[in-house]
């Protein structure tokens, strides 16, 4: 009688020499990107902290109807900055943990790195969806 072969493959996927090198390369560049994120966000938060009064005054002069919501806009900008800080932290965590995981061949650290990568893409995805919805709304409203 012919025996049916199981669907499961014989070997599981592994981080071999090729993928290990690529993971490390991604961590190297990702760390650079994350550091630039931190520097940019630092400047943005500094500007927002010291320039918030100026922004509210300018808003009251240019758009008197929006004068009352000046504080709300500043608050929203702080929330946006906090979200981007979270994204930068997750990217930095992925990079440092992935480097350590590949160097030490440590599976729990590898899991932590992948978790940080998942969080990075998850929050980036939500932000991208919200930004796209907003830009679609503004484009359509400017066209029609």
């Amino acid at each position: 009688m012919e025996q049916q072969l199981p669907n499961e493959p014989l070997f599981e996927l592994q981080v071999d020499h090729d993928s290990g090198t690529r993971f490390k390369e991604s961590a190297k560049w990702g760390q650079f990107v994350a550091i630039i994120y931190f520097i940019g966000l630092g400047f943005f938060l500094l500007g927002l902290t010291f320039g918030s009064a100026m922004i509210v005054t300018a808003l009251a002069e240019k758009m008197p109807l929006m004068a009352a919501s000046g504080g709300l806009i500043i608050g929203a900008l702080f929330i946006v900055a906090a979200i981007y800080v979270f994204i930068a932290i997750q990217l930095y965590r992925y990079c440092t943990l992935m480097r350590a995981a590949i160097d030490r061949q440590d599976l729990p650290t590898f899991h932590e790195a992948l978790k940080a990568l998942k969080n990075y893409f998850l929050v980036s995805g939500v932000v991208a969806l919200l930004t796209f919805a907003w830009s679609l709304f503004t484009t359509l409203s400017s066209l029609f």
């Binding site: 592994q14 020499h17 993928s19 990107v33 160097d103 590898f110 893409f121 796209f132 484009t139 066209l143």
Partner: protein
């Protein structure tokens, strides 16, 4: 006189000892590279990451198309110089965005197919695309910072001449 086979045996023994020492002191030898297996936890985390990366890439490509529409169709009341500069900026941004999002889309689809088909080649290609995505992002940041510094220098020189 030492026999020839004894010399050969000593050399082999020394080589074996050196290899053993290297394996003990250096944990990054190629033998250890296969310790990291893609188990169920890693598989689940990678699948979720790839799904969200695909969403980011598709939304990014759609956003690039929207930016082109806005650059060409919007801002009709502005002067020709303003329209030309906004179209140029939009094209440069769109080119960067398309390149990045294609790498991200390749990462997502290769990782998904690698995980579902247990295909090591696809998995490796996916990881390579992730590395290329982050590398391109880093290079674009360097280019953007350099251009910003150049514009500031040109602008300050121009203001100094007036």
């Amino acid at each position: 006189m030492v026999p020839f086979y004894y010399t050969q045996l000593t050399i082999l023994n020394n080589r074996s000892k050196a290899l053993q020492m290297d394996t003990n002191t250096n944990p990054n030898t190629s033998d250890n590279l296969f310790d990291l297996a893609i188990d169920d936890t890693a598989r689940s985390l990678l699948k979720t990451a790839a799904t969200w990366a695909k969403i980011v890439a598709i939304v990014g490509l759609a956003g690039a198309a929207l930016a082109v529409i806005e650059a060409f169709a919007g801002n009709r009341a502005a002067g020709s110089m303003t329209i030309a500069s906004s179209v140029l900026i939009a094209i440069v941004t769109v080119v960067f965005s398309v390149i990045l999002n294609i790498f991200l889309l390749r990462f997502a689809s290769n990782i998904q197919s690698g995980l579902s088909g247990m295909n090591q080649a696809n998995f490796n290609e996916g990881v390579n695309s992730l590395a290329l995505y982050l590398k391109c992002m880093g290079i674009f940041i360097i280019v953007a910072i350099s251009l910003a510094i150049l514009f500031v220098l040109i602008f300050s020189a121009f203001m100094g001449m007036r």
